[in-house]
């Protein structure tokens, strides 16, 4: 019974156990509850790294819950798997790495950011539940299990968004908007899971992908899933909950929410690529995702420029950066049907889009942490009231520059690497899209110059004269993110070759996903 074989489940269950234990530990000694949670999420990060090396070297990992043997997908005499099966292939572990890293840094950041708040054990329970929800969404190979983890993540993130809702009304309003929108999403996802179960009498994704005949009902399920998961990822016409909830949540939670909404983006790609693949009309669905992406890019950045609240501005940038990912992978989906185009630029476009998910999680997390640092010291989020903070908050200013340069796609940083791949491959597909993408990058840089000028530059204002630098744990979280951004920027090919390309391949060829389950016959 060596623990290595049980890693796929330990990565989910250790945060869950810690989530339930933290109220009790909070009562015993309130002071280092945060330390306990950071240690737990640190262990989860190490386990995810071990899992990543296993999956990337030895191929997808399966974990069957409650069966006699953890790889017995088909119990004796049954034609389809009936238990919940975790299937972790290169794409799932790609998202799992983002999740575990972001949650670990969020817990380290909130060691000092949330020290003054009371009710900390509720905060840490919800943070750990959100960690379980997101990693569950990303690792599960069962459609209904995905719905359950989606709801766990939604409810935990709503409670975290409205965490400060007791003393002022805005967080409660933001939380309410997110919960209503997520409840619609949950019902629609369950409706399509019911459609799959009603037709094929099976809940496991790989088996559905195998027996799918794309009937009229499957078309309806596809429509529901694409709409609802695009909404949860924050694509434009349905993006309005994003600025509300990102600006009202505590800083560490906003960083985590960025990663959670990317898990819904992963789910959108998982359902369209693995479940339907070429059985559906890939050109039509591809172009839908491209249009959603282009709309998100353009409207997201134009709305960001006119914002006054720093976190609301960054939230609109999260919407516009999600547009890049949708554009990249949408182009890959649109050409999935003809192999020549897929070979020349389709795979490259998807690599750009998926690499952008990792980069975005890094630099958007860094930007939100710097915004949290500013709020932590000045107590306000309004850019008009801030000024001259660069004089004494030097580290935060440096981290902000790195984050802003990365998001705007300035060369040595990681944003540039993934955007370059997206520009070049999307250009071959349709030049206009690449031009819009470049224009949006310029506007992104413009709005971050505005933030940098009004928050950091300018003379020292009298009420912020004695502002000190932020405490160590916040600096550590920001420093790790900045370090990762620089490393990914300098050696992008290592990341693309080892992590991103296998993930793209795992998405594209459906057979590699299904034969892992059916192989276990």
């Amino acid at each position: 019974m060596n623990l290595l074989t049980h890693i796929p489940v330990l990565v989910i269950v250790i945060p869950l156990l810690a989530a339930f234990a933290s109220p009790i530990i909070g009562k015993l000694n309130k002071k280092n509850l945060g330390l306990f949670v950071s240690v737990i999420l640190g262990i989860t990060l190490i386990l995810t790294l071990i899992l990543a090396t296993n999956v990337l070297t030895k191929g997808p990992a399966i974990y069957v819950f409650g069966g006699e043997d953890i790889s017995l997908t088909h119990p004796s005499g049954l034609f389809a798997p009936i238990r919940i099966i975790f299937q972790i292939d290169a794409m799932s572990i790609f998202m799992g790495l983002i999740a575990s890293l972001v949650f670990f840094l969020a817990s380290v950041y909130s060691l000092s950011y949330m020290k003054s708040h009371e009710g900390l054990e509720k905060y840490y329970t919800l943070l750990l539940l959100l960690a379980t929800g997101m990693s569950g969404m990303v690792y599960t190979g069962d459609t209904f299990n995905f719905f359950v983890f989606l709801e766990i993540a939604s409810i935990a993130s709503v409670a975290l968004i409205s965490f400060k809702g007791t003393d002022c009304g805005e967080p409660a309003e933001a939380g309410l908007k997110y919960i209503v929108v997520s409840a619609i999403a949950g019902s629609m996802v369950l409706f399509s899971v019911a459609i799959f179960y009603g037709q094929y009498n099976v809940l496991n994704m790989a088996t559905i992908a195998e027996v799918m005949q794309f009937t009229q009902l499957d078309k309806i399920a596809l429509i529901l899933l694409v709409t609802v998961l695009a909404m949860k990822a924050g694509s434009v016409p349905m993006h309005m909950w994003t600025p509300d909830s990102y600006s009202e949540a505590p800083a560490a939670i906003t960083m985590v929410l960025v990663a959670v909404s990317q898990a819904s983006l992963y789910a959108l790609f998982r359902f369209t690529f693995t479940l339907y693949n070429i059985k559906m009309n890939t050109v039509a669905v591809g172009w839908i995702i491209i249009i959603l992406g282009v709309l998100s890019m353009f409207i997201g950045v134009t709305m960001a420029i006119i914002q006054k609240d720093i976190k609301r501005l960054m939230a609109y940038h999260a919407v516009s950066q999600t547009g890049y990912m949708l554009l990249g992978v949408g182009v890959g989906l649109a050409v999935l049907a003809n192999p020549i185009a897929l070979e020349t630029f389709g795979i490259k476009a998807m690599e750009g889009g998926i690499f952008h998910i990792m980069n975005h999680a890094m630099y958007k997390g860094l930007l939100f942490l710097t915004a949290g640092a500013l709020f932590f010291r000045t107590g306000t989020r309004d850019l008009n009231k801030m000024g001259g903070l660069g004089n004494n908050m030097i580290y935060t200013a440096v981290f902000f520059i790195i984050g802003a340069a990365a998001i705007a796609g300035i060369p040595p940083f990681n944003g540039f690497a993934s955007k370059l791949i997206i520009y070049e491959s999307v250009y071959q597909f349709n030049p206009l899209l690449a031009i819009i993408a470049m224009l949006v990058s310029i506007l992104t840089l413009a709005s971050f110059v505005k933030v940098f000028h009004s928050a950091f530059l300018g003379p020292k204002m009298e009420q912020f004269k004695d502002v000190k630098e932020v405490p160590k744990s916040m600096l550590f979280a920001m420093a790790t993110l900045a370090f990762i951004i620089i490393i990914f920027g300098l050696f992008p090919d290592l990341v693309v070759k080892n992590i991103v390309h296998p993930a793209v391949m795992a998405l594209i060829n459906q057979s590699s996903y299904t034969e892992v389950i059916l192989g276990g016959m």
């Binding site: 040595p412 300018g458 050696f491 090919d493």
Partner: protein
Amino acid sequence: MNIGLLETGSGSWNAIIWIVMVVVIGIVVLWVRSQGEEKYKKDTNQTKPFLSGNPEVSKEDSHVSASHIYWGFTEALKKYYKPLVTLHTGDLNDYSGWIVLVMAIILIIVGVS
């Protein structure tokens, strides 16, 4: 030297060569700058910005705050920004309305094809 070399579809990108180039050009630029005129007297009116004769306003009041920085940009695109901002009503009913609208559009596109 292909550690940092990233193949991007129709070309490749190497961050390290880019940094080396920036450093080299930086040195050249600094060298050219150092050849410049040295004989100006510090913080006399030679180094003061020329505001066509107006007295220089103190730093505090000349700090352009956030909402005025892109005044020109937003003013020029007023016809684009006014409807866009009013569309973001923040009303919960509109949020669900948008979801249903997008679902209808995708239903038409996927249903037809």
